[in-house]
């Protein structure tokens, strides 16, 4: 594993990012998927600990730039996984592959939309074009889809940045604060309904027709996840960090 230089600087980081993305692009064009995945993994591992511990000698607001780039590289990693999943000629005949690729597509798009605020260039354009084509494929093959959408009520919420009543502080959800994304951490959450919608907030909660089981009384049963704990920066968090909304 690469080690961070003791004289870490944002200039070095930017240069390393540029080199990594250039190499990634070449590997993807040559369909060297495993090499491309390893490259992303190695990049993230190089910076993860220093980022998590805020141990780098940079300004506190530069952690925001670091976060955006790390999420971008993770998005590229997701895309490699997606390419691997869909590389076989008949992947769309395999239900597990169809569902896994859908989830990976959602993860990849969400991370790249987040990072596109400051990451631009040939690589991100290529991925967005490719994701759009894959979404078209899903639309034509499986339709626009139906989704479950849970309503969640909670007794209150705490700001993930300052840990006070979410209503009381000035941190805005989705905003970046010294490398952290502001979210509302629910207190005693409970589901109060489950809706069937065609415009979900989280498209991962898709109902696949092959998972529906018709009962003798004509009712339908399905087993499926109704809430995903995904967050664009989840790979940078400790497993002990509470999930947020």
């Amino acid at each position: 594993m690469n080690r961070l230089s003791p004289n870490f600087s944002m200039e070095e980081f930017d240069s390393n990012t540029e080199d990594t993305v250039g190499s990634w692009l070449e590997m993807m064009l040559d369909e060297r998927f495993q090499d491309a995945a390893d490259l992303c993994d190695s990049f993230i591992e190089k910076y993860r600990a220093g980022f998590q511990e805020r141990a780098l000698k940079i300004e506190s607001n530069e952690y925001n730039d670091l976060l955006v780039v790390l999420v971008f590289i993770k998005g590229l990693f997701d895309y490699v996984q997606l390419c691997k999943l869909t590389s076989s000629e008949s992947w769309y005949n395999n239900k597990d592959y169809i569902e896994s690729a859908w989830i990976k597509l959602c993860d990849c798009r969400e991370r790249l939309v987040f990072s596109s605020q400051s990451c631009r260039g040939e690589a991100i354009d290529l991925v967005f074009r490719s994701l759009s084509k894959l979404e078209e494929f899903y639309l034509h093959t499986f339709g626009a889809g139906n989704y479950v959408s849970p309503g969640i009520e909670f007794e209150g919420g705490l700001c993930s940045i300052c840990n006070v009543d979410f209503r009381a502080c000035s941190h805005v959800p989705g905003g970046l604060y010294e490398g952290a994304i502001c979210t509302c951490r629910p207190i005693n959450p409970s589901f109060n309904h489950l809706a069937l919608v065609d415009t979900p907030k989280d498209p991962r909660c898709r109902i696949w027709s092959w998972n529906l089981q018709e009962n003798p009384d004509k009712s339908v049963t399905t087993m499926m996840p109704i809430l995903f704990a995904f967050s664009v920066d989840d790979f940078l968090r400790d497993s002990s960090t509470p999930s947020s909304i």
Binding site: S132, A144, P150, G151, V172, K201
Partner: protein
């Protein structure tokens, strides 16, 4: 604000235990939906979007209060559909309208970026109240986000 509008507003919020003097210093209130039908001790439920909107208004130096600022004990709700619930936006000072419209437009504009091709547009659910000496209006809106933006932009021009 006109005396009549002030009396109505303070009467409604008074039922929830809000001190009428506490309201006076604010240009805009971001409150739970259907707040006027509730009584003290009722289950008040803020949407996370309503709270976010109040924070964005404060960032732009609008004197804005949410349930916390008025001392209301509320629950929070998060709906996982694409629809946007901004609660009750109560504009008490017409001078704040342009800023409210600009911030709402930006907030909703960010929200309605279509996630993928073929997806339907999101809808917005809002109660808009304007009570000052120039205008007194109430709009309950449940519909297309772009139509809502047109409605509120119209308010700015009045």
């Amino acid at each position: 604000m006109s005396i009549q509008a002030d009396a109505i507003e303070c009467g409604l919020l008074g039922k929830l235990g809000v001190d009428s003097d506490a309201v006076q210093k604010y240009q805009v209130l971001c409150l739970p939906q259907a707040v006027e039908y509730l009584r003290e001790g009722s289950d008040l439920v803020d949407s996370t979007e309503s709270i976010t909107l109040s924070k964005l208004l404060k960032q732009e130096n609008i004197a804005c209060a949410n349930s916390y600022d008025l001392g209301l004990d509320t629950k929070l709700t998060e709906l996982r559909g694409l629809d946007i619930y901004v609660g009750c936006i109560w504009i008490r000072d017409h001078a704040a309208v342009p800023a409210v419209v600009a911030i709402l437009s930006r907030f909703l504009g960010d929200k309605i970026q279509e996630w993928r091709k073929g997806s339907k547009k999101s809808q917005v659910h809002a109660e808009l109240k304007i009570t000052d000496e120039k205008i007194s209006a109430e709009i309950e809106f449940n519909g297309d986000t772009e139509a809502f933006l047109k409605v509120i932009k119209g308010l700015k021009d009045e």
